[in-house]
Assembly symmetry: C2
Homo-oligomer: 254 residues x 2
């Protein structure tokens, strides 16, 4: 039987510990094609590079695996990966493991998850993995256990076309993680602020900062699952239409 082709990317850049852990976790499941950003691309959301060209370079950084290092965003990496595998689309796309949470509405800001959403747009089963630990030297061992479990199921069972998975893993030792819950995206939002600083030339600059607040009382959300020591999986799609609002808007005088 032919091995599946697995396209791998991330948003922390190819040198991050998270993508190394992801590669180690999935390498037994298929042949890998890695297309990863040359630098951190956190918060890039679904950005693509349109005003300048992309550069790629073939690298043997991960021994035994084909990798292109790419100057673009995570979504660019998916588009480039599909371009480079023309004629034989990837069977699965995996993105991550992100150093930090991508729960709830963070799916919109997340380069890790936007890569998976791009895969869903292409009709390819896609999964984004995130560990709730921002440390560059985070312990990805427990995450790797869940990556293996979920990738195995995704390859065996058919994933519906146009769907990707947003997997978040609590920062806990394996023995403390209670299991996996299928969830919906919590209604939670950033309460943003900017930290104003002055540079040595006397000019002001601003760092975006803030607190993330859960406004959702549901017990079926990703945030609830994670707070209760479960891995959360949110099936994610790309139709942003507010279908229920169409009839209301039809009453406007336009």
């Amino acid at each position: 039987m032919k091995k599946p082709l697995i396209l791998v990317t991330n948003d922390d850049g190819f040198t991050a510990k998270g993508i190394k852990s992801l590669i180690d976790a999935v390498s037994d499941f298929g042949d890998l094609l890695i297309v990863a950003p040359d630098k951190p691309q956190s918060g890039m959301g679904h950005a693509i590079t349109v005003n300048e060209p992309l550069r790629i370079s073939l690298s043997d950084y991960f021994k035994g695996h084909k990798m292109y290092i790419c100057s673009g965003t995570p979504v660019d990496c998916i588009k480039m990966g599909i371009y480079k595998s023309k004629g034989k689309l990837p069977d699965l796309i995996v993105s991550g493991i992100n150093h930090g949470s991508n729960v709830s509405t963070n799916v919109l800001y997340s380069g890790t998850m936007s890569a998976a959403v791009e895969g869903a747009l292409e009709g390819i089963p896609s999964i984004g993995f995130s560990l709730l630990d921002y440390d560059m030297d985070a312990d990805f061992e427990p995450s790797m256990h869940f990556v293996e479990k979920i990738v195995k199921e995704a390859l065996e069972k058919k994933m519906e076309k146009g769907i990707c998975l947003n997997v978040n893993i609590p920062k806990l030792p394996l023995s403390k993680i209670k299991g996996i819950k299928i969830c919906r995206q919590a209604r939670a939002f950033w309460d943003d602020t900017f930290e104003e600083r002055t540079d040595p030339l006397g000019k002001k600059y601003y760092w975006l900062t803030g607190q993330f607040h859960d406004h959702d009382n549901g017990e079926d959300t990703d945030m609830f699952a994670l707070e209760n020591n479960y891995v959360s999986i949110v099936p994610t799609q790309f139709d942003m239409t507010a279908h229920h609002a169409i009839s209301h808007l039809n009453k406007w005088e336009l």
Copy 2:
């Protein structure tokens, strides 16, 4: 009665003709706060600037209106605009008028629409406007007519919290536009490719290019409306959960 505060941004940058047209169209409806990117930010999607600080500068480029020129993305501009109006949230956010289409799944790649989605996340009525003409000197007169009409209704009727509008306007004279249709996002996708070129030093670089294909037979989509010479409005929300897929995933052995 106090005038509404209208926050204005775009993704083509503050010098684009589209934002000037938008400002002219909405300036009678309220007091404007403009926070616009200092350079083109097309295709930036929901990207935010997290790895470097932002710079802003107050400008009198648009006489009689307060404007900050911002080094960040359209979503950064919304966050900065809300920060700068702390204590009194904007009553309405308008973004555009984009030089080019933002129909269907392009809502994900679009800086114009991501600014509006960010407004929806903040609970502020928000509208993104796009004209189906990529020309930097496009004729925005017909668009301005529809901006006025839609903004008037949005301010009079209450827009549901968490919803924004994706408005696309056909490239036609006003007399040829048949009206406005409330639509859903068409199932349409990019068939991407990259154009490979060689720079003067002999190194390869790649331009993202491709064709956008409609895979949707529905007559209730934005693309159908536009093809039939209507302005399309898609009510847009930020819950990306594939709710219908939850029960299927619960059958996986995880």
